[in-house]
Amino acid sequence: MRLTGRFGRFGGCYVPEILVPALEQLEAAFLEAQEDPEFAAELNGLLANYAGRPTPLTRCRNLPSNIYLKREDLLHGGAHKTNQVLGQALLARRMGKTRLIAETGAGQHGVATAIVGALLGFETVVYMGAEDVERQQLNVFRMQLMGARVVAVESGGRTLKDAINEALRDWSASFETTHYLLGTAAGPHPFPTIVREFQRVIGREARAQVIEQLGRLPDMVVACVGGGSNAIGLFADFIGDEGVRLVGVEAAGRGLDGEQHGATLLRGTAGILHGAETYVLQDADGQIADTWSVSAGLDYPAVGPEHAHLKDSGRAQYVGATDAEALAAFRALAEGEGILCAFESAHALAHALKLARAEPESAILVGLSGRGDKDVAQAQQLLRASA
């Protein structure tokens, strides 16, 4: 490896020896591509003319007007995921791979991978926990419509982390022809770095847009954190701006005092899962805990290693929003601004609403990472149940 793959003490490359050559090949391809103007031109062309970048920055009109929304919900595919699947798929083609595999929880990353599979002509296989397959039939069908094969994973708890395990197992036998298109800024080096660099465009655009609209930098940047790809993409260009507070919002689920949450940075301890040293929700023996969140995208027992470092170094602050707070923010955004956002993004908004009221003079940039179409049926059930 040419890079260390470390963020402070976190990160690294904890995979079976057999996968190390595949990760070395990926790192080399990525570093070469970063130096290649043709790669940048093709990626930027796809981002602009296929995916719809730049995405707008919307200042709230009826919610507190010191909130600025970075609208990744308007990206093709309906979430920020498309940014980095385009980048990784171009790397896969560069390495001569013909097959893509991916994991997915609720299906957003699976859909994004199916999109690039169709666009760039890869055979695409998406691993999805059997329980998630049952809960997210519509996304399964979306992937199938675009030619991807969806494999229901029956091992373990039959959810996202098991889908990642199964994708890693597939890759251990298939890396010569196959690229593992990991969906977030987690996993073994070089994935956290690659995914951050392909998501960095979110913060780069938002920083320029805030300066243009407001004439200065925002005071706070707020994003939800599951694996952490949209947050790291939004944060990356602000890390050097010392006066800008970075706030990551984790899923507090049914409350941080119980066990039904996905708040890895707030309640986890250092461990090694899916290739990286990071914070992990686990028991005293190191067995990985079951997690819970109303939003499947935040329902993950580890977190990207750079967030672990940003927390420990104090550069970013991490807080939680409960299911109920997220649902309230989801409604408030729909009623106030006419925007249906993803439940994941509603966690960021829930915390931003608290900040906006407490500090009305502060400008708050919020990552609206995805649109809420996928969550509408669930919202209907939840709101009926609570009515």
Partner: protein
Amino acid sequence: MSRYAAMFERLGSEGAFGAFLMLGDPDLETSARLLDAVVEGGADMIEVGIPFSDPVADGPVIQAAAKRALAAGVRVVDCLRLLSEFRSRHGDVPVGILTYANIVMARPGLMQEAAEAGVDSLLIADVPSLEAEPFARAMMQSGIDPVLIAAANTPDATLARVGRLSKAYTYCVSRVGITGTHAGGEFDAGLIERLGRAGSPPPIFGFGISRPEHVRAALKAGAKGVICGSAIVDLAARGADVTELVRSLKAATRNDSVPQ
């Protein structure tokens, strides 16, 4: 002399046969009995898994074994007790643990406790040689031999590091994939040769050993031994006697064993 060194010396040109079992599968009592059964069948060395909830390097058979153990409530401390009791019954059989990094990280005293339980080596499936240095140092300080994996696709520069860090033996993988992968009876003699040049400890083939002809093919490729895991664990899971399988595989490690 370490138990591994003594075993290789005793065996001379005969291949070592290692049997793998998941500790606590399906429960502690049965697990203790299975450990004895493979020794009775003639296993020269024992490899044991400490169950982990997310075993990415394992195929369906070993995954299921870990799941059964965890479902039975087996804790790491129970595994250590099983090993210490095994050691009191079998003083000379080398014992190696095969587990995952998070289990090791979660219990800072694990290597010391394992050494006290009579464990001889430790292989961490998701710690490649790139990350192995601090783990290997901690093992050596506790009196446990690090074992690293060498695969057919591992480049020479990495094999040199594997050779330097691995002490008891080198765990060789002929084919890409996960445990339980069929090697189709093919074992990479080139890997053994390259390991020899890297000055590594005795190479032992794991992955894809389920029949006597696999054992013979692996030894013919130059290995000093073999480890059989999934076939034994699968048989045990169906409630069958594992002693006979071990006996037939062990027989194939002997020089005078006749191919059938």
